[in-house]
């Protein structure tokens, strides 16, 4: 029951008294009491205006059959008449009517307020619960409703149920030593019974419960509710109290309401989490597939993200104006990692023999071996000539033979060296190759042929590296295909930059890169970071045939030239060196023999 005072408003009562007062004879004194308070008075005041004073008339005011107040009236003796009794009855009757109407209104309002309270609670809980995308966050939001608010519970916990083996795991809890107490609750026999209870329940006076062995001394009563959606049991909410009569039906009602919302939020969070796991898993599978395609680039797609993230972290912290706008939050980190893992996904369709082409004459078979065979034929021809000349009695036969062998060996060694593609091919080099090619040899069918085919000459004369123009084009295709493949993925907003970051890793600051020939200012910072990460990984990767793993110093030297040439972003490269990214990565992934001293200062600026 509410306080009686609320049923008679002083302002209104005072006004009512003021209006009625002039009807009384002069000198009349009136006081109105209700709920133990004097609400209003008219006429001269004094201690003799009380219930038991002589000459005072009392008119009672009641509430639910009990006297809760009164109207007191005292007239000067000479003015007394029967009319005052009528006046008092009339006034009290009207006051009584208001009190009763107010009382009725209050009980309705009480009920309405209870519903309103529920609605407000739900509205807040729904907003908060549905805002959480992680199961643990949903559990935390749910528990917050029982912890720290009015009528807080001593302990609370949310357990998740494993759909496969029906086991329960604690994911969130509050209360003194809760993280220690609730795991022990799972072990109890009572918990097994609670978990099987489909609707949840209250267990007050826990000490008397047959299944309870006092496993947790602080728990004197329990309230539990399954977190269920469409009959699927996702977990359990458990509240515990130190008091033996810890929970009421009202607590249960409130908990049920919150749990109904929490359960669907939890389900959404679990679905979301499952979905969130699928995409990165696919990305990883693709990266692994690309890495597996060529033994020479193994691990490339796994290591480039590492370097890229390390460098991005430094750019995020750098206070240089160039990186002021660059922020690396969790979302951006995720985008960069995915982009880095997928940057070479176009290589899926690049033929292996081009990806793996380690020397100029590499093809489906190594053509240098064929050339070696032809040289062997020439060596034997020379031997035969020598035998023939000796038989003819030519004195210098042996000497000529030795001369020719030496010449052949030198030429072959020269070709083998050119084949590696480590050196720039000068016009003299090209001239010598053409000279060698012009030699003749005889094949098995007796046909006389040039020592090197036109195509072999073409490949051996590749000026830089091992790829000829056509093959270079095929390799460059991978960047186009990467962009084309990624453009077909309907990335969510948060991942919409993946394609730009991944597709720009072969662009150059001066606009001479591929596939789009974008210039530095058209490239995002993450795209420029990707380029550096890609090159550094490739230069230091150890598993290349015909080439020893590059040392740190050599890789930095090469990249320094790239910076000077307008290939890579100089500021990012400086950061890469000055912040020690190269070394941090090297210590983690490179062989000790590759890690030599780098004079960073020499390459800065």
């Amino acid at each position: 029951m509410s306080k009686p005072a609320a049923y008679l408003k002083p302002t209104w009562a005072r006004r009512q008294l003021e209006l009625a007062y002039p009807l009384l004879p002069a000198g009349a004194r009136v006081a109105l009491w209700f709920g133990g308070k004097r609400l209003a008075a008219m006429g001269e005041d004094g201690p003799d205006l009380s219930e038991d004073a002589a000459g005072v008339q009392t008119f009672p005011l009641t509430l639910e059959g009990k006297m809760r107040g009164m109207l007191l009236l005292r007239l000067p003796p000479e003015a007394a008449s029967a009319a005052e009794g009528i006046w008092g009855d009339f006034l009290v009757h009207s006051l009584q009517g208001v009190i009763e109407a107010e009382h009725a209104r209050h009980s309705v309002a009480q009920e309405a307020l209870a519903s309103y309270r529920e609605m407000a609670l739900l509205q807040r809980a729904v907003t908060e619960l549905n805002h959480s995308l992680k199961p643990a966050a949903v559990a935390a939001s749910l528990l917050k409703e029982f912890d720290g608010r009015k009528n807080a519970t001593d302990f609370g916990a949310v357990f998740l149920r494993d759909a496969d083996d029906a086991s329960y795991t604690l994911i969130q809890s509050f209360g003194e030593n809760a993280a220690d107490a609730f795991p022990r609750l799972i072990e109890s026999r009572l918990f097994a019974a609670m978990a099987e209870h489909p609707l949840g329940d209250i267990l007050n006076n826990l000490a008397e419960a047959p299944l309870w062995k006092g496993e947790i001394q602080e728990f004197q009563s329990l309230l539990w509710l399954p977190l269920a959606v469409h009959g699927e049991n996702l977990g359990l909410l458990v509240l515990a109290s130190r008091r033996a009569e810890g929970f009421s039906a009202a607590d249960m009602k409130r908990a049920q309401m919150l749990v109904s919302v929490a359960a669907s939020a939890l389900r959404n969070a679990q679905l979301y989490a499952a979905e969130q796991m699928i995409f990165p898993a696919f990305v990883k599978v693709i990266a692994t597939a690309i890495d597996a395609k060529s033994p020479y680039t193994a691990g490339h797609c796994r290591r480039v993200p590492e370097i890229a993230l390390m460098l991005a972290e430094k750019a995020h912290l750098a206070d240089s104006a160039s990186f002021a706008a660059f922020r690396l939050d969790d979302e951006e980190r995720n985008v960069l990692e995915i982009a880095a893992m997928l940057h070479d996904c176009g290589k899926m369709v690049t033929p292996e023999w081009v990806v793996d082409k380690a020397t100029k004459l590499d093809s489906l078979s190594n053509r240098l071996d064929l050339i070696a065979l032809r040289f062997e034929v020439l060596r034997r021809d020379a031997w035969i000539d020598c035998l023939r000349d000796s038989a003819d009695g030519l004195p210098a036969a042996e000497q000529i033979y030795q001369e020719r062998l030496r010449e052949l060996d030198e030429d072959f060694a020269f070709l083998a060296k050119c084949n590696l593609g480590n050196e720039f091919m000068s016009p003299e080099h090209v001239g010598r190759i053409q000279g060698i090619a012009a030699r003749r040899w005889c094949n098995a069918r007796g046909e006389e042929l040039p020592l090197l085919s036109e195509n072999e000459v073409y490949n051996l004369c590749i000026q830089r590296g091992t790829l000829n123009a056509e093959e270079r084009k095929i390799i460059e295709e991978h960047a186009v295909i990467t962009i084309r493949m990624l453009s077909q993925i309907p990335f969510p907003r948060s991942l919409r930059n993946v394609t730009e970051y991944a597709g720009g890793h072969h662009e150059r600051m001066d606009g001479n890169g591929y596939p789009r020939g974008l210039k530095g200012e058209q490239l995002s910072i993450p795209a420029r970071i990707m380029a550096i990460a890609d090159i550094f990984e490739a230069l230091t990767a150890h598993d290349r045939p015909y080439r020893k793993a590059g040392t740190l110093n050599w890789a930095v030297e090469v990249m320094y030239r790239m910076k000077k040439d307008g290939h890579i972003d100089g500021e990012l490269f400086d950061l890469f060196l000055s912040e020690g990214v190269y070394l941090e990565y090297a210590r983690k992934h490179l062989a000790a023999s590759q890690i030599d001293q780098v004079d960073v200062a020499r390459y800065l600026g």
């Binding site: 509410s2 609320a6 408003k9 008075a41 009480q110 309405a112 307020l113 309270r117 407000a120």
Partner: protein, 128 residues
């Protein structure tokens, strides 16, 4: 002297909001006197005559809106001690800047949480 109880005014054109707020505030210690008005003009007159310490003020009301009531109260130096809590509907949160400009002390979003209303009223009136 009659009563020294605190006074709280509720100014809202919706009768059920007045009733619910009134019901909520009854749980306060010290039995504050609760006054109500159903439009802005009436509300301002009530505040001027009764000098409540605390006013719950709706925004959208006939005759005079909550902002104007608040601004008028702030212009009157005799009402300087009035704490004004504005009740905004969901979605009106962006108007809070305007509310602050005209001198609103606190905001509550409807549907209000009765417990929050009580906590705030206790803080303002300094009752347990």
């Amino acid at each position: 002297m009659i009563t020294q109880n605190a006074k709280i005014a509720i100014v809202d054109d919706e009768v059920h909001i007045r009733a619910l707020l009134e019901q909520t505030l009854e749980d306060l210690e010290g039995e504050p006197e609760i006054l109500t008005a159903s439009n802005g003009a009436e509300g301002l007159a009530l505040i001027e005559s009764e000098r409540p310490q605390l006013v719950f003020l709706d925004v959208m009301m006939p005759l005079m809106n909550g902002y104007d009531v608040c601004a008028a109260v702030r212009k009157n130096p005799e009402l300087a001690a009035t704490t004004i809590v504005m009740l905004t509907a969901k979605g009106q949160e962006s108007d809070r800047v305007h509310g602050l400009e005209v001198g609103v002390n606190y905001f509550m979003t409807k549907p209000f949480d009765p417990d929050e209303i009580l906590d705030l009223a206790r803080k303002i009136l300094q009752v347990p």
